[in-house]
Symmetry: C2
Subunit: 350 residues, 2 copies
């Protein structure tokens, strides 16, 4: 059983998950040969017809067929090699820490650990093995986003889950182990440090200015118009002022919105339009780009917890530059591409 461990030195967490070493990895081969990717791969567990190679689906958008048979457009299954498992299947050791406890910085928490309970799901976006975000129709993409929202809500309601991390790994440098296009959703039993840092900054900003940090930021960026890559009625795509990665982008709802849960049908279509424009541009600029997409959005509050100051958003981190000693040692990034230049390349004013 995987274990969540706390690092007394940095206050960060690691999931020690020895079973993950068994995962398939077809990227190395795909990259070395640089063969064109076929639209169906008989050996791929996410391709249509291979539904019995994944754990049973927990959700699907279907045109036809019973669960775990062909006929779906988007399909959600538990990860076969989960980093975290649902509480009911986990053998919880007594003496492990309670959830929602932030470890103290003293000798009581030097070996703080807990079973890695939570959830780890895969959202298979399409039956097309060679699908890419840049080739989806707006309708395809809206269906993926609606599915993400649905699972995010279900997992967010789980009493063992404090935070739901939605992400997409793409390409070998992005850490993708399977080619077939998919998002992942991880339910964590704690508020992760990266999110906790952002939240405390939102709340500090609000208490000092009375306003939302993100609302102010996108207002000023819209005015300056130096780093805007795309925008439509509901969303804006920025190349962030202090971008860590070359061609990094940030997707933000233009009207104040606390959680992803607030995405209605109209906004899902607007976000889908932004996604397809952005990734069409990425795919035109780079023949094969590795990246990570990460959503930052708290689930709606449970157990009368107050919703903290927040404005949900999506980071896109292209993995063009390797993070090395300075990034690892100091958490200072070196980025050779000014975001103003990146915005220009996307067609913005720069």
């Amino acid at each position: 059983m995987a274990e969540l461990r706390y690092d007394i030195l940095s206050g960060t967490y690691t999931i020690i998950a020895s079973e993950r070493a068994k995962r398939p990895n077809d990227f190395r081969a795909a990259q070395q040969h640089e063969d064109p990717v076929p639209d169906r791969d008989p050996g791929c567990p996410f391709c249509e017809g291979n539904e019995n190679e994944t754990p049973p689906e927990v959700h699907a958008l279907r045109d036809s067929g019973k669960p775990d048979t062909p006929g779906w457009r988007v399909r959600v299954v538990p990860n076969k090699f989960p980093a975290l498992r649902p509480a009911e299947t986990a053998e919880i050791d007594s003496g492990m820490a309670d959830i929602e406890v932030v470890p103290e910085v003293d000798d009581s928490s030097m070996y703080w650990r807990m079973p890695a309970i939570g959830a780890h799901e895969v959202v298979v976006e399409t039956t097309k093995h060679n699908g890419t975000l840049g080739t989806y129709t707006v309708e395809d993409m809206a269906a993926v986003l609606e599915t993400l929202k649905q699972r995010y809500r279900v997992l967010g309601d789980d009493k063992h889950i404090v935070y739901v991390q939605i992400f997409r790994n793409w390409g070998p440098e992005g850490g993708a182990s399977l080619l077939h296009p998919h998002f992942q959703i991880i339910g964590l039993p704690l508020l992760p440090p990266e999110v906790s840092t952002e939240l405390s900054r939102f709340s500090e900003y609000e208490s000092k200015t009375g306003r939302c940090l993100m609302c102010d930021y996108i207002e000023r960026e819209t005015e300056k118009d130096e780093r805007v890559a795309f925008k439509n009625r509901e969303f804006i795509v920025l190349c962030p002022f202090a971008s860590r990665f070359s061609f990094e982008t940030l997707i933000v709802p233009r009207k104040h919105s606390v959680t992803f849960s607030e995405l209605d049908n109209d906004k899902a279509v607007q976000l889908a339009e932004i996604f397809t424009s952005l990734f069409r541009a990425y795919e035109k600029m780079f023949s094969s780009l590795s990246y990570n997409i990460v959503f930052h959005t708290l689930p709606p509050p449970k157990r009368s917890r107050k919703q903290p100051a927040d404005h949900w958003h999506i980071h896109v981190y292209p993995r063009l530059n390797v993070e090395a000693g300075l990034e690892k040692g100091a958490a200072v990034w070196i980025n050779p591409t000014p975001p103003e230049l990146a915005a220009q390349q996307f067609g913005g004013k720069g």
Copy 2:
């Protein structure tokens, strides 16, 4: 001129350094062909005889010869493509933030930036193009460590430099752009977030317990003896309890020591012995391992600043697992190798 920018959302910093894109990169070729690496490469700027291809040396251990000619054993040169430049060569814009100012979380710091002043040096460890840490003699390695200490002291005395980051990038996944073995030293005009977080934890621990966090940690690890990879009289190598990376290690002085500056000749030999044992083991276990070595040590205080609670140490991060969406989005790592198992592989009890 490169620029240091602050990210209002995360409180982290990025160096926007467009000149860095011009760096040579001979790793991709080396890896693809997997040719044996020769002991001298006529095209390598760090090989003996090519001294005129680097900026003039700032320090060298020499058996013979004048500066910038053959005859050296260890040679220090400014990085030809520096991420940060010394203050005297930087065109400092007025209106830029003062150094040693931590930006406020309010609208005044939304576009906080400063010229990327500091230093960026390369410590060429050996004339052997194909040298590796695991093949050095203890004497070779001690000479490298003494050189690092000397430059760390000189840069730490610079009034523009607040923190000196010593690191070594190795292999393509480690972000090394040149094969010839070298350490790098970056002088930063601010206390970086990763170090600042560690320091605040040392200080919180001390105020709660009256003791040093690292002294307590290595005492308990030595007692448990489950995660000890190596030790000698002065140093211990641990596989940290919450290791982020497979086969991650932490090198720590066993007696309380605040800064790397306190390394005397005897301790340099002890540390060299630990380094060569550890890297002989890494090189035996993995035919080609990418990694980052990062030193965490504050320079001795300047301008009557009080030295905060600290105990210097060295992190070794093998880059066997790719950091993906969960690491980037949440700062939660997934590590498939329990550190107890890693310690066993190094020959510890595990």
